[in-house]
Structures are given as structure tokens and as C-alpha cells.
Symmetry: C2
Subunit: 241 residues, 2 copies
Amino acid sequence: MRQDILNCYRTVNPHVSVDCVLIGFDGEQLSVLLVKRQGVVDKDFCDTKLPGSLIYVDEDLDEAAERVLTELTGLKNVKLDQFKAFGAKDRTKNPKDTLWLERLHSLKSPVDRIVSVAYLSLQKVDRKMMFPSYKYEPCWKPVKEVGELAFDHKMIIDEALLYIRNRAELNPTFLFALLPKKFTAAQMRKLFELVYDKSFDVRNFHKRIAQMPYVVALDEKERGVPHRAARYYKFDKSKVK
Amino acid sequence: MRQDILNCYRTVNPHVSVDCVLIGFDGEQLSVLLVKRQGVVDKDFCDTKLPGSLIYVDEDLDEAAERVLTELTGLKNVKLDQFKAFGAKDRTKNPKDTLWLERLHSLKSPVDRIVSVAYLSLQKVDRKMMFPSYKYEPCWKPVKEVGELAFDHKMIIDEALLYIRNRAELNPTFLFALLPKKFTAAQMRKLFELVYDKSFDVRNFHKRIAQMPYVVALDEKERGVPHRAARYYKFDKSKVK
DNA sequence: TTGACTTATCGTCATTTGTACACTATATTT
DNA sequence: AAATATAGTGTACAAATGACGATAAGTCAA
């Protein structure tokens, strides 16, 4: 790819990276998109991490996030929001992490502490979803099952979830990016319960939906379920506020 | 000062800076704390900016923010919250800014784009308030009167105000850092009106105060005002939630 | 001393919003 | 036809919100 060839000649900024937290919802649970580290043989290495990388010296932060996500997962045109920078003194002190970095970027001098700017995107997760690029083996991992990751990526994910919750409280429409185009009231309720970490009364939740002008009921219903079929709703962005 | 001497031997990270947005309220309006650039003779230079500077390679971001604020204003123990990173491609491309930076830090190579992590703190502003250090001429400037500043500092201030508003909507107790220990309902209302950019009904606002358990009425009243004296209130942190 | 003026404080009423709670409806499977 | 699994609905009370008018407590000037 032309873009990749050009990038070889760009200077890497060894002090700043971006990390992308993609949170997905499949109707059941929240997941996060993780990739594998490349070029590391030692099995002892913790080789799962967020899609992220060092940026180039002359590269816009937002653009860097999009580029890195595309390079590692093949995903394009993903709307990413910056939510926090991570710059603890010891965040890149683990030899596993520093060694990997130095090899990957062919760095001459040992890596200093790297400040990472974290980005968030909410995605619908389709079970049969394929990634355009499998080079780094991107895959969705349920957030509740995420173990230790490289660097401080576990903490970054926790902060992302906190951010989602706060932002949803301010403006719930933000969450509809996680739902499929057609969704049932039950799916929506499940999502809200996961995000707010509490359960909602079914009847009151229906009332709540009824007074959201941007959630419109469709004529269509579920098919092939072994019980009463639920009505589908859709999110109409144009009816927000 | 010992700290300063030691700092001379630390390595500067030429790619990452911190900027501190201190927002103050004096009972009338919101102000922001600005400092003067040092060591620049050319009068054409736009020499007012936020207190901020490059960090050291091995320095925690949060610590860097506190250190820089202390070095530029003398203020200590200020609670700073990180709210956003700024990393536009061209944010350090203005020759005025780059020249100043290169001289200040005695940099050998020209500065690349610098990613800046912005921090926020809310302060009560006392008209007779003195700064422990006047080296960089720190002073409060009403936000509505802020003109063009160095770098993208104007934009950083705008983002800070947006952040304050969002965060206050989530949790209004956050705003009490802006009010003096004793304050009147009118002062509090004025502040809320500035932050939310709309006016509130005086009577309903009193009701709103009455049902904030953390705002407690004092016996004390205003003195020397040419009309009925207003009651003082105080904020009791322990009664939040 | 009095009345004009200014700002503080309190009260009412209508409306909206939040919350607790139990039964009927519809589709599939056996 | 019965079992079962989930969808969908209404009512009553409490609490919060918002629009508005009336009264209280000071200063100031005549």
C-alpha cells in the first residue's frame, strides 16, 4: 500500500503514542477490541494489547489515532474521541514492553517514558463481523474477561468505561452507536443496565423510551424467537433535541 | 531553591508539555490566570500565555503540571485535573512560538510539533490576592476579555470552559471551589448563570439551594450594603451524596 | 420620620418527572 | 392443549421543576 511505503520515511516521535479503545456491544455484553503484539517470540510476554502505537513527529493526534487503528485492524472511518492522556512515570518501564518497542521501531536509544493519548469509539458488534486486516489478529474480548494487558492498557480500558458512563449520563444518545440499526427495547435496556451498572424496571423503561423522540418504533418485529416477538426500534439522529 | 538546581540536570522532553488553566471567580466574572513570556525582546511577540512548559522525560504528567504551575506562579498544592490533550499538526509552527521555545530551553534542533496536556483548576479569586512569585507576572484576566494568546492557548481556554460546564452538569458540587468560604445566594446564582450561560429565577434558585444538603445557611449576614443584607452560606463537603 | 428604592426571602399552584408495582399477550415447543 | 419464555401495558403516589406574586429588611433622600 502506498501509504505504508511513505510512512517508512516519516520520523517517529519516541515520546508520544495513541491508543484506541473500541468498545462494542453484541446485545449481550460489552467487549473491547484487542490486538496481538508482533515480532515477539518469548512466550512469557503478555502479548495482548490495545491497538495503539507511537505517532510521527509531524502528525496530528487525531489523525494518528485513525491511522494506527487502520494499520492494526484494517478498520476505516471510525469516529474516535480523545478522552484522556496517560503519562505516569513508570508506564513504560516494564522490560517486556520496552524491549518490544525498541525492536519494533528499531530505536537506537532506550525508550523513555511514553505519554499516550487514548481515544474511544463505540461500535456495534456483529458476531459474524470480519476485520479487513488480520495481521495483528484483532478480536473482541468481553470487558469482564480482560486480564492483564501490555503497558497500562487495563487501566486505560477502565477509564474508558468510566468516561462512557459519565458521558451517557450527560447525553444518552451517545450510546446508540453501540446498538444495531434495528434493536429491541430489551437490547436497549440491557445496554443501559451494563453502562449504568444497575437494573431498570421494564415498564418504566418503556415509558422512558416513549418519551425519547429520537427512538422511533418500527412496524417490524423479531422473527423466529420461541416466544412473543419484540418490536424493533430505530435511532433517528435528526430528532435529537 | 534546591529543586530548581536539581531540575537543571534533568532531561527535557521536547515533544510533550503541560498547560494549566486556572479559572477564577471573583463574585462578578470568570477569569483565567495568564503569565508573560520571558526573555523575548521583540515587542511584536504575543507575550501572554497560559502557565505551561515542556516536561522532563522521566516526569509524571500530573507532577509536571504541578511543578510548572509552581515555577511560573509560585502557587503550591493546587488541585489540577487533566482535561484534554492538544496535538494539532500546526500547534507549534508559529515562528514567534518556536523561536521563543528554542531560546528558552536552549534546544539544539528546531522544535517539532509539541503535544500539550492541559490541566484545569478552579480558584476563588480575591481582589487583594498576591502571588508568591511575580517573576512571570501572573495575573487574572476576565475570560471575556482574553485576546489572542501564544500557541493555541485561546482554544485550550475555550475547551476548559466547555469542560467545566459539562462536569458541573454532572455534579454541581464541583463549582464550589470557585466560591469563597462564605458566599451569598446571589453570588452562587451569578456563578451558575455564567457557567450555564442562562439566567435562573431567583425564587426557584433559593428552593434549589434549600434542597442541596451540602449548602448550609449561616447566621451571619452581609454588612454595609445599601439594601437588605443577604445571608451567607457555606459549602460542606462532608454532606455531598 | 417617612416614603422611595433595592435586593432578599418565602409561598402557591400547575406541570412534569420518577418510581413502585402485577397482570395479560403472543410466539414456540412438546 | 398445555407448558414456557419473553413482550408489553396502566395506575397511583411522591418528588422535582418551573412560572409567578407577595412580603421583609435594609439604605437613602426629602
